[in-house]
Every structure is written in structure tokens, then in C-alpha cells.
């Protein structure tokens, strides 16, 4: 990673947990290797979660695309609690014509993914996903929008298993890219 992105001014990840890993956890992994640590820390300072980057680095004023529909936003754990990603996606979505955001209860509660937790403790993980799906459905949104791939798999997996083929699960980038309408 350090080598691959040595020439890049910024590294942007579309997933809070990936950006969180590099920003928060990489430096700790190399804490006993001073030479590497310097390079790793430098990489971690250049690394951003997508919406955080767009709002706080690019300082995006307007979004040229539009998206039509009612959405609800799930705050993924790593993005929210490791990187402070909360307002950023909402600020961006508010700039898009056609987007109607309706907040669900407990939007900050973990969806139950947790990496290997989702397989090791499948029953608990499924129940947590189920709670999340019910909150999403209760918001009556057409789509749940989020910025972490693990949560996407988990939430979509539970929605479909319970017979909900209607509620869309979209990455915030998919919404920002627009739906092609005007």
C-alpha cells in the first residue's frame, strides 16, 4: 500500500472501514518499526473516506447530478466512530436535486456485520441485521444509502432473505453519481 500509493497526493476509499484501517490502525501495526512507521503515518494522513474527502478536502460546492427518491442513511461504525463521518454524506446528499432524506431510528447502531463476527456469531449477527432492516423498512425509504461495503452485503443479504426485493441498498457513491434523470 505504501509503495503503491507513494506518488498519490491523496488516497480515497469508498469504505469507512478501509479508510479507518489505514488512518487509525496502520500506525499502531508499525509502532515498533520507526522507519516504516514514518511512511505509514504519512500515508494515513493522506487517506480519506470518500464523503469526508469530498466535503473537507475538495470542499465540493455543488453536485452536477440528480437522484430521485426517498432515502435513509445508515451510519457505518468505522466511518462514524473512527473517522467522524456523520454530516459529510448528508451535506452532499442535501445538495442533490430530487433526494429526499428521511432518517430512521438508531441510524448509528451497528448493522451486525463485524467482519468474521458475521460468520462466527451468525445468529446474533443476523438478529442485528434484522433490527437494522426493520428500521430501514419503517422509514419507508426506497433505498438505504451507506458508505461501507461490509454493511451493504449484510443489510442486502438480510433484506433479500426475508423477501424484501424492493428496498434498494446503495453505496453513497452510486447516489452521488446520479440516476440519469433531471
Amino acid at each position: 500500500m505504501v509503495r503503491e500509493f507513494a506518488d498519490c497526493e491523496y488516497v480515497v476509499a469508498p469504505s469507512g472501514s478501509c479508510a479507518g484501517m489505514i488512518r487509525e490502525h496502520y500506525p499502531r501495526l508499525f509502532k515498533d518499526e520507526p522507519q516504516q512507521l514514518e511512511k505509514v503515518s504519512e500515508l494515513s494522513r493522506r487517506t480519506f473516506e470518500l464523503t469526508d474527502f469530498l466535503v473537507n478536502v475538495v470542499k465540493l460546492e455543488a453536485i452536477p447530478n440528480s437522484f430521485h427518491g426517498t432515502i435513509t442513511y445508515h451510519d457505518s461504525c468505522s466511518g462514524l466512530r473512527e473517522l467522524g463521518v456523520k454530516k459529510q454524506p448528508r451535506l452532499l446528499l442535501a445538495k442533490m436535486p430530487g433526494v429526499h432524506l428521511t432518517e430512521m431510528p438508531d441510524c448509528e447502531t451497528c448493522c451486525g456485520f463485524g467482519g468474521t463476527f458475521s460468520v462466527k456469531f451468525g445468529d446474533i449477527s443476523t438478529r442485528m441485521a434484522d433490527n437494522k432492516c426493520k428500521a430501514i423498512q419503517g422509514s419507508r425509504a426506497d433505498a438505504v444509502v451507506l458508505g461501507d461495503l461490509g454493511c451493504m452485503l449484510n443489510i442486502e443479504g438480510r433484506l433479500r432473505r426475508t423477501g424484501d426485493y424492493k428496498t434498494q441498498v446503495l453505496h453513497v457513491a452510486e447516489v452521488l453519481a446520479g440516476d440519469g434523470g433531471d
Binding site: 461504525c77 468505522s78 466512530r81 473512527e82 448509528e108 447502531t109 451497528c110 451486525g112 456485520f113 463485524g114 467482519g115 468474521t116 463476527f117 458475521s118 460468520v119 462466527k120 456469531f121 451468525g122 445468529d123 446474533i124 449477527s125 443476523t126 438478529r127 442485528m128 441485521a129 434484522d130 433490527n131 451493504m152 452485503l153 449484510n154 442486502e156 443479504g157 438480510r158 433479500r160 432473505r161
Partner: protein, 467 residues
């Protein structure tokens, strides 16, 4: 207390299907979480208090030996007797000795989680002493022969109806249905016990080094009766509960009730210093303080040391989405939730509690709400590492991770694997684009589909788009 943490998975599954428990949990969760949020919002500079509280706790832990000596001297000077207990068995032995010395036939207890660690009630009863728990929750559990499921609200798993049934059955009085009536009945039963007990046993939320005092926070008033009415009072608590000064305690007291129950302060804050003086009308004739190690010193000087900051507010479990769904009993020992997932493996041995550090999504909410800023997810990660280092993980998991780690060192092979795997997944998933079953990952597929990968992998796209 009997450890059952090794059955975590099976017990968690049972709890998920327990409709009554689920109802009790969701009710309690709303209450605790919202009450805390309101209380914190009203406290100016909450973050400043957290920093100060963590610093106070760290200061004590760094020089624990000095503060313990200071405490012992101050307490002894006020007429208390300090005992040191290295293990739970030592605690029980010391208590039995004290009871024998003072010809104790009946003991009343206010809530003490340390005594739960030691299963003290059972030991005293075997020695022929009648033990009566006087915290309402603990009293209910004593009647029901159940362990607590929460450190602040021990009976949170039970519904009002269950308690009505229990009281009717045990008290042999007409069934009461309202909470005030149930409380009144418990008070009527407990009052004579307070008056006739020879010994009062309490815990301590804090020990104050400069004054040699033991401090408890309670809401029911039973703590004050327990510590003042009987002629003998024994306070049992962990050595890490020390705080240097009364001033420091004031800081911690701003955080403890707010974090625990959302109260700005509890109904009672009782500071017990020494025995009854000659001019005084209240207090015990004999005051013993039992300082308990029972595994606490194992935290000192290692990566898990921040855990000793814990002030036992229970906010981590109240806010834990895993605890919220399974309750406390599944964790299998005295301390449930995230704090238990760090304490239990160290106190009872990692191999007896293998699941606990893993039974968390590491969502991080526990660390966000902790009033003394314990990095609980980091500590669970440390224990996970120790499980791997000590070869305690199942061989299938070790093998899978070993293969993954090896392959990840070769981006070319990794890329090939992911390309092949994604194509296979897509082929199996078919038009629906969903996998319903995946061998080795039934934990996932029993309750969820797995959306199949679409299009090209990242590593296929990356070279083409690179400029």
C-alpha cells in the same frame, strides 16, 4: 460464581429466542440509553470531565501500591480493620472468620459484584449464616436462585409479571401487580432483617485514600441501612477502586450516575469512615474492609491496564448492540457486555472464555460512551491476538487465516483468486444474483443471502483506469 462463558454461543442462541427476555431488554435499552443521553447533554463540558476522570483513574493505577498503603493507614487510624484477599477463596475465608469472631447468625447485604465473583452468599450459608440480599434486584434474584444479568440493574431480564408470581409464591401473600405494591411488600419483608442482622456486607464504588473511607452510591437506601445498623460492617471491594481524594471522587461522581442510569446524582451517596465514635449514635462497632485482588493485578503493566479505570457504570453494556440482543446471562459470569468481555477472560482464564473477546462487532460505541475512556474495542483486539498467539483458536480458522495471509503477500495470485472466486460465485448465484448457501459460512447463510459480486474485480479495473 460458576463460570459458563464457554457456552456463550449456545446460550446466546437461547436468549435470542426468549420472547419475554427480548421484551424486557428492549424496554430497558430505551430507558438507559435515552436517560444517559439527556443527562450528558445537560452536563457542560462532558468531554473535559471524561479526560479528568480517566487521568484520576490512571494516576491511582500507576501508583496503586502507594495509594493502597495510604488508604490502609487512614482507615486503620479511624478504627477500621483492613484485610487483604489475594483470591476469591481468601475473601470467603476472611468473611467466615469475621462472622465467627462476632458470632454472626444473620447478615444483610447491599449490592456487591465482588461478592458475586466469590459466590460469597453460598459459602456463608454453608457456614450456617442466614444471608439476606437487600438491594431489590438482588433480593428478587436470591428468591429466584438466579445470577444477575446486569451490574447496575441485576434483574433487568425479568418482567414485572414474573416478579409478581415469584413474590406470591415465596412470600405467600396475595399477588401484587403494581410496582409500588411490590416494592412495599419487599420493604415489609426486608425491614425486620435489617433490624435483626448482626453483620452488614457491602461493596464500595470508591475507596478514598486520604480519608480511609468507603463510598457507595445507591438508590434504595438499603445500602445505608446495611452499613450502619448491624454491629459489624464489612466492605468488600477490588483494590482498583481507590481514588486519591474526596475532590477526585466529586469528579467521578458527576460521571458515574449519569453514565449508569442517567441520574444527575443517585438518591444516596454514603461515605463510611471508621467505626462509630463515642459521641456518635450511628454506625457499626466493628468495620472491616476487605481489599480484593482476585485477578486485578494481572492487568497491571500490560496492554490491558486501562481496564482497571473501570468505575462499573454499565454504560458499555447498555449501549452494546450485542448485549442489547442477548442480555447478560449468555456471557456466563459476573460481568457481561464489553467490560465483561475484557474482565472475564483475565479473571477466569482466556481458555474458559474464548468467545467473549470475539463476541463483538467492534462497533466502538462502548468506547464512545465510557466515562473513563477505556478503549474497550482495542482491549478486545489484544485478547483476540492473545488467543491466536496461544494457539487457542480452532484449527480451521487458523488454517484459513494462514492461507489468506500467505496469498495476500502475492498481489498477482490474490488478484487471480479473487477473479476466479467472483466468477464462480456469480455462476452459482444465477439470475437472482444471490447465494443462498455457502459451505463454511453457514453462520452467514443461515439467516442471510450473500449478494454475488458483479462486473470486474477492483484489481481488474485498477490497471486500466490508472493514469
Amino acid at each position: 460464581m460458576q463460570i459458563t462463558s464457554m457456552y456463550f454461543k449456545a446460550r446466546a442462541r437461547e436468549k435470542l429466542d426468549d420472547a419475554q427476555l427480548q421484551q424486557s431488554l428492549s424496554k430497558a435499552q430505551g430507558k438507559f440509553v435515552h436517560a444517559r443521553a439527556d443527562a450528558i447533554r445537560q452536563l457542560e463540558n462532558f468531554e473535559g470531565y471524561r479526560d479528568a476522570a480517566a487521568a484520576i483513574r490512571d494516576r491511582v493505577i500507576r501508583d496503586l501500591d502507594l495509594y493502597l498503603e495510604q488508604f490502609e493507614q487512614a482507615a486503620t487510624a479511624r478504627g477500621a480493620v483492613v484485610h487483604w484477599a489475594e483470591t476469591a477463596q481468601d475473601v470467603n475465608r476472611i468473611l467466615c472468620d469475621i462472622a465467627e469472631r462476632h458470632a454472626v447468625r444473620k447478615a444483610v447485604k447491599s449490592k456487591s459484584m465482588v461478592s458475586e465473583e466469590c459466590a460469597l452468599d453460598d459459602v456463608l450459608e454453608k457456614a450456617g449464616i442466614e444471608v439476606v440480599e437487600t438491594d431489590l434486584g438482588e433480593y428478587i434474584l436470591q428468591l429466584a436462585h438466579e445470577p444477575p444479568s446486569h451490574i447496575v440493574a441485576p434483574v433487568v431480564h425479568k418482567s414485572k409479571d414474573e416478579i409478581s408470581d415469584l413474590f406470591e409464591h415465596k412470600h405467600k401473600r396475595p399477588r401484587k401487580t403494581s410496582i409500588p405494591e411490590l416494592c412495599r411488600e419487599a420493604r415489609e419483608i426486608l425491614r425486620p432483617h435489617f433490624l435483626s442482622a448482626d453483620m452488614g456486607i457491602s461493596g464500595a464504588n470508591f475507596l478514598i485514600a486520604e480519608t480511609g473511607s468507603a463510598l457507595i452510591v445507591t438508590n434504595e437506601g438499603n445500602g445505608r441501612l446495611t452499613t450502619t445498623l448491624p454491629r459489624v460492617h464489612v466492605a468488600i471491594t477490588g483494590i482498583e477502586k481507590l481514588v486519591p481524594t474526596l475532590e477526585d471522587v466529586a469528579t467521578l461522581l458527576r460521571l458515574l450516575p449519569r453514565s449508569a442510569t442517567g441520574q444527575t446524582i443517585t438518591n444516596y451517596v454514603s461515605i463510611t469512615t471508621g467505626v462509630r465514635g463515642q459521641e456518635e449514635s450511628d454506625g457499626p462497632e466493628h468495620f472491616y474492609i476487605v481489599l480484593v485482588d482476585a485477578g486485578r493485578t494481572k492487568f497491571l503493566g500490560g496492554p490491558l491496564q486501562p481496564m482497571l479505570r473501570c468505575i462499573r457504570c454499565g454504560a458499555c453494556m447498555n449501549h452494546c448492540p450485542v448485549y442489547q440482543n442477548i442480555g447478560g446471562h449468555a456471557y456466563g459470569w459476573v460481568y457481561p457486555g464489553p467490560m465483561g468481555s475484557v474482565l472475564t477472560p483475565v479473571y477466569v482464564g482466556l481458555k474458559n472464555a474464548l468467545d467473549l473477546p470475539n463476541a463483538s462487532t467492534l462497533c466502538g460505541e462502548c468506547a464512545v460512551v465510557c466515562p473513563v475512556k477505556i478503549p474497550l474495542p482495542d482491549l478486545m483486539r489484544v485478547l483476540r491476538e492473545q488467543e491466536v498467539e496461544q494457539g487457542l483458536r480452532p484449527w480451521q480458522e487458523r488454517l484459513a487465516l494462514k492461507i489468506w495471509a500467505r496469498v495476500a503477500l502475492f498481489p498477482g495470485i490474490y488478484s487471480l483468486f479473487s477473479r476466479v472466486a467472483s466468477r464462480i460465485f456469480r455462476a452459482i448465484a444465477g439470475e437472482e444474483k444471490l447465494l443462498h448457501y455457502l459451505p463454511g459460512a453457514q453462520g452467514w447463510t443461515n439467516g442471510r443471502d450473500l449478494p454475488a459480486p458483479e462486473g470486474q474485480t477492483f484489481r481488474e479495473l485498477y490497471p486500466n483506469r490508472k493514469r
